[in-house]
């Protein structure tokens, strides 16, 4: 498993197609890491939300038990990227510049939801704020803010590390 993936996916076309047909789920279907983690984007009451399906392998602290901080960070970062992809008029492939994650409460072993808010979109940089919650949206468990480079064309790549 050391070879990079082939380049035949046509990510830009797939994203455009998902937006045209209003199927946000297709955005996450094409990202291997999202499938591995059980991450998806869903329309709920007219709102685009990120969703992390609970699985035992997401646990970081079995004594509590609590979700791994990295798994929650992944949910927030992915939700921010997909929110940006969804709202941008043209297909831009955001490149994460930085992300700051704050852990407020224990992530319990149940499903987690997230909502990204585009706080500012400039010509080159977009600022996104994201919140994750479980049963009570008024009690977020994790929040993050992130900056993305949104240069259109081949200079930007989604999900770059």
């Amino acid at each position: 498993m050391t070879e990079p993936c082939d380049r035949s996916t046509g990510l830009v076309e797939l994203i455009a197609e998902a937006k045209r047909t209003n199927q946000p789920g297709r955005l996450t279907d094409i990202v291997p890491y999202a499938r591995f983690m059980g991450l998806s984007m869903r329309h709920v009451a007219g709102e685009l939300l990120g969703h992390l399906t609970y699985a035992d392998m997401l646990i970081g602290n079995p004594a509590l038990p609590a979700l791994h901080g990295g798994a929650l960070g992944a949910l927030l970062e992915s939700t921010a990227i997909f929110q940006l992809l969804w709202e941008a008029e043209t297909v831009v492939l955001p490149k994460t510049i930085d992300i700051t994650v704050e852990y407020l409460r224990t992530g319990r072993p149940i499903d987690t939801w997230a909502k990204g808010i585009l706080t500012r979109q400039g010509r080159r940089v977009a600022n996104v704020r994201v919140e994750a919650w479980q049963e009570d949206r008024q009690r977020p468990i994790t929040i993050a803010h992130a900056h993305f480079l949104i240069l259109p064309g081949p200079e930007g790549e989604v999900g770059d590390a």
């Binding site: 996916t9 990202v31 997401l58 791994h68 930085d98 992300i99 700051t100 770059d160 590390a161």
Partner: protein, 161 residues
């Protein structure tokens, strides 16, 4: 260079540490994370490249979320290496700067140092890289809460310092 016996001891401790680590943290096991070196307030870990962890199917570049998990785990391990006695810790915040895309097909290493430990809080910084720490793919800065006493609950549920 350490004496061969010290080296053998270190290897044995490392194997023991990894067994514990995988036993205790399911998400680290799912990602294949392993500790490769540790010292006083210092930890080095490896994230093996896997197609499951790809964020951009066009390029095969790892998803930022996998790097976040690696940094969270490595920073946490560095805190444990600094503690005079083991107590539960919880991530308060973690900032990741994505300096350049990780090379597709290559493992990512992380090196984290806990550079300040107070009664309540541990401060950590770290980098993610392929083979040269001076040429990192990501940088991280984090703060962790330390549990005050056994049986008083998770610090993640009591975040005020």
């Amino acid at each position: 260079m350490s004496a061969p016996r010290d080296r053998a001891e270190q290897v044995a401790r490392l194997a023991q540490l990894n067994r514990q680590f995988h036993l205790v943290v399911p998400h680290n096991r799912a990602l294949g994370l392993e500790v490769v070196e540790f010292g006083d307030g210092d930890a080095r870990m490896r994230l093996p490249y896997s197609r499951d962890l790809v964020g951009n199917p066009d390029t095969g570049v790892l998803h930022g979320g996998a790097i976040t998990s690696l940094m969270d785990a490595c920073c946490g391990a560095a805190v444990f290496m600094k503690l005079p006695m083991p107590v539960p810790i919880a991530t308060l915040d973690l900032r990741i700067d994505y300096l350049r895309p990780a090379d597709p097909g290559r493992d990512v290493l992380a090196h984290a140092t806990c550079f300040r430990l107070t009664r309540n809080v541990a401060f950590v910084r770290g980098v993610a890289y392929h083979d040269d720490e001076a040429d990192p793919v990501a940088a991280a800065a984090g703060a962790f809460m330390l549990a005050t006493a056994p049986g008083r609950g998770s610090p993640r549920t009591r975040p005020s310092p």
